[in-house]
Symmetry: C3
Amino acid sequence: MIFTLGKVAGHISAELHGDPECEVSDISALQSARSGQISFLSNRKYYRYLRHTKASAVIIKRDDLEACPVSALLVDDPYLSFAGVVKLFHPDPEIVPGIHPSANISSSAKVDSSVTIGPNVVIEDNSVIGSGTFIESGCVIQSDVSIASNTRLYPNVVLCHAVVIGSRVILHPGVVIGADGFGIANNKGVWTKIPQIGTVIIEDDVEIGANTSIDRGALENTVIEQGVKIDNQVQIGHNVHIGAHTAIAGCVAIAGSVTIGKHCMIGGLSAINGHLEIVDNVVITGCSAVGNSIKSPGTYSSGIPVTEARLWRRIVARIKKLDDLAKKVAKLEEMIK
Amino acid sequence: MIFTLGKVAGHISAELHGDPECEVSDISALQSARSGQISFLSNRKYYRYLRHTKASAVIIKRDDLEACPVSALLVDDPYLSFAGVVKLFHPDPEIVPGIHPSANISSSAKVDSSVTIGPNVVIEDNSVIGSGTFIESGCVIQSDVSIASNTRLYPNVVLCHAVVIGSRVILHPGVVIGADGFGIANNKGVWTKIPQIGTVIIEDDVEIGANTSIDRGALENTVIEQGVKIDNQVQIGHNVHIGAHTAIAGCVAIAGSVTIGKHCMIGGLSAINGHLEIVDNVVITGCSAVGNSIKSPGTYSSGIPVTEARLWRRIVARIKKLDDLAKKVAKLEEMIK
Amino acid sequence: MIFTLGKVAGHISAELHGDPECEVSDISALQSARSGQISFLSNRKYYRYLRHTKASAVIIKRDDLEACPVSALLVDDPYLSFAGVVKLFHPDPEIVPGIHPSANISSSAKVDSSVTIGPNVVIEDNSVIGSGTFIESGCVIQSDVSIASNTRLYPNVVLCHAVVIGSRVILHPGVVIGADGFGIANNKGVWTKIPQIGTVIIEDDVEIGANTSIDRGALENTVIEQGVKIDNQVQIGHNVHIGAHTAIAGCVAIAGSVTIGKHCMIGGLSAINGHLEIVDNVVITGCSAVGNSIKSPGTYSSGIPVTEARLWRRIVARIKKLDDLAKKVAKLEEMIK
């Protein structure tokens, strides 16, 4: 597809510095763009590439106009505007509604006529699939599931019994929603399973990454509010409630009965202990362990970045004796006073 | 379903304080229960909800009788008794034996006539499926696998060649058992694959959470003893041996050739280094790293809970210089002596 | 299969100390080997088993010849040589080419006549599958994917649109390659999805463990160079580039736009923050968090091994006050000077 810079600028409401008739045919990263391509600068780590870019035009902030050697499209948020340009050049392919003959759909399921269902999909009794939803190969929708409209399930997603999915939800391959929570009670050394009779409610505009699993509630439901974005391989336990527009990076582990507020951001490989509450607008940086409820907005951390291993081994030995060290210092203070 | 409190009390051998003819029709959490529902109090965090509960009856310990404003069922372990009540109100749905016509079953496989097999299930050569087992849609059972009786495989589980599964085992969606272990040997900078010729043995009454993977042994077998409960997204390496009735929370990573005793509990997102031994009755709290064998029962930790990020950055800088700090303190001690 | 020790020694170019006509029929671990079996000693943790082994022969280094009570095959790298012996006794089963009738293959896909395709496999439009490749049950190959020759996909692998896979690649069950990266831009509190239009390139001789996910690039491609070995449940974000012959253990989380050099080793449950660069020949030990680029080869760590929990709680309290402690020490130094 080919667009003029004028057309692109109009599409993202940018102020164009350059020839509006100049044609661009694709998008690319600053360092690899060629003539005829459009790029963007958002992360300051890539600022060094701006001066030498071969792109025909770059989407930037006004502050970077001086440094831009080619045509510029000035916007407030280049990353966000860039998203709009990507969609312009790479529109979603049209999906033809229809049900693949190898799909197994219960006669009691209600599937809208505008739905697209791929090979080997299984839809069990009484499930309801809304308009424009696209369910790809190998997905399994168990009984009494409800999916609203324009939702997309990539291949091999599993939705367990009675799960409720909103509109415009995106579920990547291997996602499992509604498996039993880890509910066990100890009976003289032997674990008894606690039946998990709640379900999972995923609200509108949620996106969930590959191989992530979200457990059904024990009694109450597990709830993911609208606009939440979850990366790959995240584990969300039973009865968790995640507030709207919170973003959770890869490999995060959230134990059961945790409540997370709206507009939070949780960094990768962090963990949140069970039965805690986190208020709105909390940022947890990567590799952190949340061990108590967080009652004030702000940024919280406990990850330790790497050091050269020989030094780290000495540090670990010192950490293990930190209680002694503190006592020594207290004693010294006492002696000198 | 409707039961009288007398009937419920009898079912869990509870001492009833209240009207045995009072009818209850469902169960619910303390804070959301309505009249006609029964609830329970186990975790002390929810004690504050007891005084105001609208439940018709609550399963509690004798000590909480005074604080209970409604009918009470006194038991030793409310969480455990609650499990029995859940099963009373929510019995497992009956499963009709039979093989879905879309299943692909090798003519050399032996499938008991009481087995239930869902759509698109694949069972390869010489595998044996015992009575009452339920294999849901999209599961793949490779050759020479053996599954005993009354085991349940949720959708899209993969059992690799020659894996052995006991009775009453529950495998949640996306579980992979018996993939090759991570056996590689370095040959002048290039990795050579070590063939993995052991298998995996899962004993009776084991439950394994969604998207968990358990590797086959390199030479010996990987063994999960009876009654072990494993949460979602756990990774268990080759030749690991886990003792009976141990419980492992989500996202734990267990490296190869680890031996874990019986009745252990491993907290979420913990890691256990390769070739270690952990004795019976060990508790590892969440986000801990086990770097040496553990030879005594007890509780072990190395997770650090989060702090406000600005303070944490200063602490990390101090940790990185902890060896210097300790040396300074030693010097001060020397000077003052 | 039965071989003489002479034949085995020749196969791995070992110096045999013992009867070349002695017959062995299988391989086993040192501690469990019986007469007629061959074993090996590589990890020093198992040295104690050498003296008492019942194996007929052991593959060892020259230094261990004195301690070996049975026939010995002397080699430079017993673990590597052992791999060759395993293949001798356990050759890969022959795979018969052919396409299972339940597979759904687009008429525009190009599938070599020597390919083996299992039940319920889906291959979408324009994908190309090279000679000798084996695609097992339930795999989904989306449109425009390219797979070279002699590659193996275990069951339920998903390859998304336009992914490129090399030769002799091994993908274990549940692997997802090419799902959308976690690209979101915040628009007044609401997340906008950034379309992910790059793809994933997996070069020759790569092995990827069960339930691992590798995201497609946002603009550029995600690239895994030749000979890289990745364990189970690893998460690799968009635009990551991993150099040849690097090995990554289980549950590692690599955020977007990370570049890792050749011949690196990353320990289990480690995390690498986004947009970092790691040079060749770097070792990251398990449970470490990489927070800055690593510019020199070497070994790096930040994991802390467990301590008895009661002591650890005191240590954590001291860590939280480490900044104060350091200030106290500085003050003491000032006073004593």
